[in-house]
């Protein structure tokens, strides 16, 4: 019965494989592991994506969001800076901010009207000094000790991140040079916010992380991809991780100089992913206006743990990934364009929203797939996946037929969660 009573990650040899090629399915459904993730990842040495600066351009603008599953509010301060605080009143714990977005220079908790400034500092306590002989707060009550819990905040190219950690390295180091370069590719000029759409999936957040680090699936699950030559094996590719912990990565699929016989390759595999009979009556949706040095059809770049930067053709999205218990995650697609877009280009971006999001021609399958894994593995926590593709060629980074980014992710996750130690004992 040990296995029933001990947290899975404490069993001998749990997550023993050090190379990230074998992942015990328990990590996708264990409540204990989920709680531990909140502690060691979201409140640990990570920078968590909150949103775009363009969402809160003016002093007092704010947005309610989350770090892991802790409610957090990000604000634009009076001075035009950025701040973030846990949305839990310093008095008796009510959520202070009750709306998704808005503008306010002071945030009043409805319960007893304690008020806080945009940085989360306590401004006022009603009847603090009592009234006409009726006592108020004790003399030793020091407002400075009762601010909202404040997070470290920083932004990178207009992307806002926050952390609970005092130890974590500065944001730009956390992102690293390699990843920074790719972010700058997309955020090379001022952006304008176009709104968001939300998708809720009955599966674990890490299954989505695997998904956006998996060029192998992209060419096989999404028929739309391959058929319309948006993304397929044979394209020039970048598949790279960051240089330190290996938790960030990029997949870039580049058209030019692509091997045009690719279609044939799918036929050889005789898999259903390539259907020649199929065409669009109105293919304006597939336009690709060249706006970057490198003309890529796909740029998919997860910045662990809460962000995925995406450029697909001319549609630009910052995807925010939020865990909602072990069995659910929410995905928020933040669409944006550039401030200097022509009406035509802006319109094209909006039209290409058809490609991504909850109804996206080439993304709707992803949550479907992650849910299939959730359902398939729920009773087999001690079984593992088999992540072998291109394992023997760790340096190949110009291929789309690889699972190296996923293995890298699991190695970093295992370290962050300290499973390497527990399983070391186990080993």
């Amino acid at each position: 019965m040990i296995t029933e009573k001990t947290a899975p990650f404490e069993a001998d040899g749990f997550f023993a494989e050090a190379d990230g090629s074998r992942v015990p399915y328990a990590v996708f459904s264990s409540q204990e592991i989920y709680d531990l993730e909140q502690e060691r990842i979201y409140r640990g040495p990570t920078w968590n994506f909150l949103g775009l600066e363009a969402e809160i351009p003016h002093p007092g603008d704010y947005k309610s969001t989350f770090v892991g599953d802790t409610p957090v509010v990000m604000t634009r301060t009076e001075e035009g800076g950025l701040a973030a605080w846990v949305n839990r009143c310093a008095h008796r714990g009510a959520m202070v901010c009750r709306t998704l977005r808005g503008n306010a220079t002071s945030h009043n908790c409805v319960y007893h009207q304690w008020s806080f400034d945009t940085k989360g500092n306590l401004l006022g306590v009603p009847f603090r000094r009592g009234q006409k002989g009726q006592a108020g707060m004790p003399k030793d009550f020091n407002p400075k000790e009762h601010n909202l819990r404040q997070l470290r905040v920083d932004s990178y190219c207009g992307l806002v991140f926050a952390t609970f950690s005092e130890e974590v390295e500065p944001l730009d180091e956390y992102i690293g040079e390699t990843m920074g370069g790719y972010i700058k590719r997309v955020f090379h000029k001022p952006v304008e916010y176009l709104g968001c759409t939300r998708q809720y999936s009955k599966s674990n957040w890490k299954l989505y992380m695997e998904n956006v680090k998996d060029p192998y699936h992209a060419s096989l699950l999404h028929l739309f991809h391959t058929t319309f030559n948006i993304f397929r094996v044979g394209m020039k590719a970048h598949c790279v991780t960051d240089d330190s912990h290996g938790l960030h990565s990029i997949i870039m699929a580049i058209k030019e100089g692509q091997d045009e016989t690719a279609g044939g390759d799918y036929k050889e595999q005789n898999i259903r992913s390539y259907d020649e009979g199929f065409h669009l009556e109105d293919d304006s949706i597939l336009a690709l206006v060249e706006e970057y040095d490198i003309v890529a059809t796909n740029h998919i770049q997860p910045i662990f743990p809460q962000l995925v930067v995406q450029q697909i053709h001319n549609t630009l999205v910052a995807r925010q990934l939020l865990p909602k218990g072990p069995n659910n995650f929410e995905l928020i697609f933040h669409f944006f364009g550039y401030a200097d877009d022509t009406p035509e280009l802006r319109n094209l971006r909006i039209k290409q929203a058809n490609l991504v999001g909850p109804a996206g021609y080439i993304s709707m399958e992803d949550t479907e797939a992650t849910e299939l894994v959730q359902q398939g593995t729920v009773r087999d926590g001690r079984e593992t996946s088999v992540i072998e593709m291109a394992k023997h060629e760790p340096d190949q980074s110009n291929t789309l037929i690889t699972e190296k980014l996923i293995r890298s992710f699991w190695r970093g996750y295992r370290k962050l969660m300290k499973f390497d130690q527990s399983s070391a004992q186990g080993a």
């Binding site: 176009l194 669409f335 399958e365």
Partner: protein, 156 residues
């Protein structure tokens, strides 16, 4: 007079949702005029004046493309939709078109046989008469349920 028109509009809405609920996707575009506009967009964005949609079609061609893709390209779990419409109001416009609003509810039944509220929202429609038959010039689905469950495959 207006009661006859009202009846006609209700018949149109009923035909529209029964077309979707009986899986006659190929007939769905035929209820629109050639130069039509169809959009599914969260109320959240509309209220802020932001344009990001989840489906955006500015021609009947794009409606047909969506159907073809659903039939041949996209992968999603078999699901049953049931649409319910209520609160229909309308106003005839000087140009002879009719602006029509109504609330909709979509209940979704999974393969396991569980039915859940999938989405509610408002239809903002513009209807015109074309060779004697009412067709949609515009159909904007503004949905309340901003958290789309799993995915949205079929039209609303």
């Amino acid at each position: 007079m207006s009661h006859a028109l009202r009846a006609e509009l209700m018949a149109l809405q009923d035909e529209y949702i029964s077309t979707l609920d009986t899986d006659r996707l190929e007939d769905w575009p035929t209820m629109f005029v050639e130069d039509c506009f169809y959009e599914i967009i969260p109320k959240e964005n509309v209220d802020q004046g932001l344009p990001a949609p989840i489906i955006y079609c500015d021609s009947k061609k794009m409606l047909r493309d969506r159907v073809v893709s659903l039939r041949h390209a996209n992968i999603y779990a078999a699901v049953i939709y049931r649409h319910f419409v209520s609160g229909l109001t309308f106003a005839e416009q000087p140009d002879g078109s009719i602006e029509m609003q109504s609330s909709y509810l979509v209940i979704n039944t999974s393969q396991l046989g569980e039915s859940v509220v999938y989405q509610t929202g408002r239809y903002n429609d513009v209807v015109v008469r074309e060779d004697g038959r009412l067709r949609f010039k515009k159909k904007q689905c503004v949905y309340d349920t901003s958290r789309v469950q799993t995915l949205l495959a079929l039209p609303i």
